[in-house]
Amino acid sequence: MADELIAVFSYPFMQRALVVGILVSLCAALLGTSLVLKRYSMIGDGLSHVGYGAFAIAAAAGIAPLGFAIPVVIASAFLLLYITRKGKMGGDSAIAILSSSALAIGMIVLALNRVSIDINSYMFGSILALSEEDVVLSVICSVIVCVTFILLYHRIFAVTFDESFASATGIRTGVYNSFISVLTAVVIVVGMRLMGALLISSLMIFPSLSSMRVCKGFKSVTICSAVISVVCFTSGLIGSYFIDVPTGAGIVVVNLAVFLIFALVGKVKER
């Protein structure tokens, strides 16, 4: 078994997938807790569809995909934040409109330009999708997300738990909400190559939901979900390689299994 594992990770594409995947799942899990608790679970889903649209346009225009998609998705995250804040539309409706529109525009751009990209890999992810450049950019983004999260951790907690109290005591909630949005957008774009537009949001949501079944504090939930996320990613990646199924789908199924186990443990603990 050990020999087989060494053989698997002797492929450069597997090494790239492992490095990027671990970093992305770590970042996703850190941000996920705040998103779940702020009732923004679907934001990842919405933004990943925007990412899909942006990648399609980048492919048609022949420009660097990540360099184009990151700013577009960040802008959409701000737009969502603005719409919800102004109370013009519920957050769920805004996300639904944005995600289906972006998906539709992406499809039309691809059709008009007769660009053929592997839609399957964009929707469900592919471990072959990462180039050397992608890896460098992903690593830089992930490190920035992690460091920012650690520095802002207590303020993110305060803003997530009680926005009115936080702003009454002088914490600039708008600034920290924007930070959460930008970081989320970056993680989505970086992660969706590997996980696919349809599955990246589960990487943000599942680990937090799982650890919330059993952990009591915000810190323990955050740490626990980071660990769950990395473990699920690694085992999903290896498992999907051996039984030859799409990587993203494999990782989601592992996350689902962990969630069910934690839910059960949580129920037992309650008694």
Binding site: L152, Y153, H154, D162, S164, F165, A166, A168, I171, K216
Partner: protein
């Protein structure tokens, strides 16, 4: 010493005037209860005092207390019901306004949180999860958090709504004690009888008019009779005044 003085204050709610020309002041050591029917602008006023909402005219002046040094106890939100956070984490978050941009909690912060936890008598549940606590315990936790943010002035927005009668009177005792130990209290409430019982001053807001004065003055007014209707007319034991 006057902590807050509002003069001819006008505020709008969604473009419509919520109240106009409101003047009142809070002295150090006061226990001010803000009462009034729904839609009379109580919550808008609270936001104005906290600086979360701009007022259209008039003035709010602070003396001896900074706007960011008000210990605020907001109404609970739905998201908090299943929020995984220990009591300690919640209380500590009240110290954040002391740290400027320093990202972590200092030793003083932790000592302060510990002190407020002891003051609110919640040491035994300090490591429990906020979501597993009863309504009364949760309010004590939020009070401890508010006390971390201030020494001088608490602003409580309907602190007893949804609590059962026994816990409600416990809560009033806690607030009364805090007030006794020198903390100035502003409380928004619908509970008119406890407002005049515990409060030293009353601000009664209504659509076109307002009353501001001591609670002894207030109980002689028509608006008090209106607000306490149904309970005051000789139904013995329903209302007692005096401490």
């Amino acid at each position: 010493m006057k902590l807050i003085e509002c003069k001819d204050l006008c505020m709008k709610y969604e473009g419509v005037p919520a109240f106009e020309n409101l003047s009142f002041s809070i002295d150090e050591g006061d226990f001010l209860c803000i009462v009034g029917e729904n839609g009379s602008g109580k919550s808008t006023l609270v936001k104005g005092i906290l600086g979360l909402k701009k007022y259209s005219s008039g003035s709010i002046e602070f003396g001896g207390v900074k706007p960011k040094e008000i210990g605020y106890l907001p109404q609970q939100t739905a998201a908090q019901k299943d929020f995984p956070a220990t009591v300690r984490e919640v209380v500590l978050s009240g110290c954040l306004n002391r740290n400027a941009l320093f990202p972590f909690y200092t030793k003083e912060n932790k000592a302060r949180a510990k002190r407020e936890i002891e003051r609110m008598k919640i040491e035994s549940i300090a490591d429990k999860s906020y979501r597993d606590l009863s309504g009364g315990q949760q309010q004590r936790v939020l009070l401890a958090r508010a006390l971390c943010a201030t020494e001088k002035l608490l602003l409580l927005d309907e602190p007893v709504s949804g609590l059962d009668p026994i816990v409600t009177s416990e809560m009033y005792e806690v607030i009364h004690e805090l007030n006794h130990s020198g903390v100035t209290v502003i409380m928004v409430t619908h509970d008119i009888h406890n407002a005049v019982h515990y409060g030293s001053k009353i601000l009664n807001m209504s659509k076109n008019d307002y009353f501001f004065g001591t609670s002894d003055e207030y109980i002689t007014t028509e608006s008090f009779r209106l607000m306490s209707r149904g309970c005051f007319h000789g139904e013995g034991g329903c209302f007692t005044h005096g401490r």
